[in-house]
Symmetry: C2
Subunit: 401 residues, 2 copies
């Protein structure tokens, strides 16, 4: 596997930058544009037909003996702020390497093969995630979005996409849907690394609900307002948060519950808090168990006064293709690659793609479970296990009758 | 009392502005400078000797028959951001009206009388409070302070003070200490208003401790990190805060306990909190009871792991002059003014002045207990009760042998 090692490592070096803290490929910014352009040129060098749609999703179509819907792989080009070198990019460049491996067999596969580099998945620049795969699959888009600098989504999108669509040879259109989609991705959690497994086959993606909970109080002087006469939003919020954590810890083992964001007003040490808003992120492998927890959560919240709850996200659990997972398990077994089946606690483009085409995911380990950080790391040998499994999977799918 | 009503109301109108949200006389800014200048000119019109020290504290000395240390009154000129029309300013302008009333008696008092307008009490521009009265009383100052705009305390101070010290007739020096100090101030709490009392005689100022408590966790992905493997700073912080509130609510009735400020890092809804820092503001009339609570608080905190506590303020309880309070109580009784004795839950220049001279405070009600806000309000009749009691108190003190 030496040749691929050099190629994938070189590509990762070329597409990541080392002149700032972490990777900052926010959708439509300069680094993003540089990479999508480089990917198009790379594909064209290898005889792929490049297509760029109006959201900046790049499709590289490699020919097959037949004219049919392609077998697709890929992931997203964008990162979080100060992100790592692998999240998203590994699925794009690893996908490219897998396709190269397939075409190095010396004959065209029956079906065409496609590499997709989705424009945006992280929601790190504009307050919306999965805009790339949502557009790709024809889902409705919310576009009146503005970034931190006041630039609108549509302005940024048009400026960047124009520069990709005017590259010679690029087809401008929404690519027709593929016959299947397989995404290679880092796990982003610690399970594969802890189990010393190089490969994970993803059974599904968790259900996810997010809420903003706001506790209302009355701002007043911390020294002159008698305790008995206070409406202290922080006093209420701290008890409510503690009870919700207690409830979560008593719930099913597959539940994850996080209060990651708090905003207090006026947030001054000698003023009683007037308002405290905190986020709730809860995820479950099972829609039913998540619903059970949410019902219990509402009961807890109802015991508190002056509290409002606003749902900000609701994503049902997404089972991925059982047929593809079974096929990948058989291939891995045949190749003598140990693997583990697992659920994904993070969202992925695959959950959008799975609404329109059979979809599979292959995970490789994240050292110490770290992702979305400059210290995100996966050993090259693990990265190459993923590429090898994907190459065979694409080959099998593309040569089936 | 009609004449004083017009005069005090006119003065308050003249020294407050109506062209922005609330009063924003941060120390050494334009509004502050305008008012200290206007006060100096007002004093000079009424034959007072104006003195401005190097911190911008203004002293207006009105003559007595004898040459001796003056009987002083006054308060501070600065406000919080978006402050009210009365906090500080009422003690300055009400003090001026009381002195006028005294001199309208037709003969000079035995002792001279002084009005002080302290430069700064609120700590609203630079991260230090009481810089005016601390300088006035010769206490050590911490001056390497910088405001939000990056302007240093010393630069702002020198620019503003130069403009006051160059007003013709102004003496530039630190004024010698007065024989006593009586401060007129709004209560800032609800007790007088709820008791329908127009006057409060302050027995002392609360002891006050502030802390920053930091809970450390480990930032990680909210979806992919198993609950059992998390170090969630918010999970710990919410339980700790709830237990501290429970402890405070079981403690003495004169304790006030407030968590007003929280900072979470990275403060993102789908990332487990790496760090949560919250403030604790606790106040008590009694140093002993405060110490008892703080000991119990440390015991609670020690039950939690990965927590550090940093003390940011320690002010012992300040008893004010019993002799002056007794005298003021006798005067009020003689004038048929009902009053109530009470503790101050807020800090005041009086707690600094009481370290160098016998000090008293006279409170008037704050409607609904609101202060530090544009809606801060005290009825004119209550304001005038305060001025009348202060005028008689100054007269009695200045004419004692």
């Amino acid at each position: 596997m030496t040749n691929e090692a050099i190629q994938l490592g070189d590509l990762l070096d070329q597409f990541n930058t080392s002149d700032e803290v972490g990777q900052n490929r926010l959708v439509y910014n300069q680094q993003w544009l540089r990479n999508q352009r480089a990917l198009i040129l790379l594909g064209q060098e290898h005889d792929a037909q490049a297509t760029v749609d109006d959201y900046g999703n790049v499709s590289l179509d490699f020919p097959g003996q037949e004219i049919s819907a392609p077998i697709a792989t890929g992931s997203h080009m964008d990162t979080v702020r100060q992100g790592g070198c692998y999240d998203g990019l590994y699925g794009v460049l690893g996908g490219f390497c897998a396709i190269q491996k397939l075409y190095q067999q010396g004959h065209l596969p029956k079906k065409p093969v496609r590499l997709i580099s989705f424009s945006e998945e992280e929601g790190s620049r504009f307050p919306a995630a999965f805009t790339g795969s949502n557009y790709y699959t024809g889902h409705q888009q919310v576009t009146p979005l503005v970034d931190e600098m006041g630039i609108t989504f549509d302005q940024a999108r048009r400026d960047a996409v124009r520069q990709l669509q005017t590259i010679p040879g690029v087809r401008r259109q929404r690519a027709p849907l593929p016959a299947s989609f397989t995404e290679l991705h880092i796990e982003q959690g610690p399970r594969l690394a802890q189990a010393h497994q190089s490969l994970g086959l993803v059974t599904g993606i968790v259900a996810q609900d997010r809420y903003d909970v706001t506790v209302y109080g009355q701002a007043n002087h911390a020294g002159t307002t008698p305790m008995a006469q206070r409406q202290d939003a922080m006093a209420t919020a701290s008890h409510l948060m503690a009870e919700l954590y207690d409830l979560a810890n008593k719930s099913s083992k597959s539940l994850s519950f996080t209060i990651g964001e708090i905003h207090v007003s006026p947030n001054v040490s000698n003023v009683i808090a007037e308002r405290c808003t905190f986020s709730i992120d809860c995820r479950e492998e099972s829609d039913e168990r998540l619903a059970t927890f949410l019902t219990a959560m509402q009961v807890v919240i109802q015991h508190f006064e002056n509290v409002t709850v606003k749902q900000t996200l609701h994503v049902p659990a997404t089972p991925l293709s059982q047929a593809l997972r079974k096929q990948n398990a058989e291939i891995a077994t045949r190749m003598n690659f140990p693997f583990q089946e697992l659920f994904s606690g993070a969202g992925h483009d695959s959950q959008i793609m799975s609404t329109v085409t059979p979809t599979a995911m292959i995970f490789v380990p994240s050292e110490a479970g770290i992702s979305h950080a400059p210290t995100e790391y996966t050993k090259m040998s693990d990265l190459l296990y993923g590429v090898a499994l994907l190459a065979t999977s694409l080959s099998v799918q593309a040569n089936e009758s």
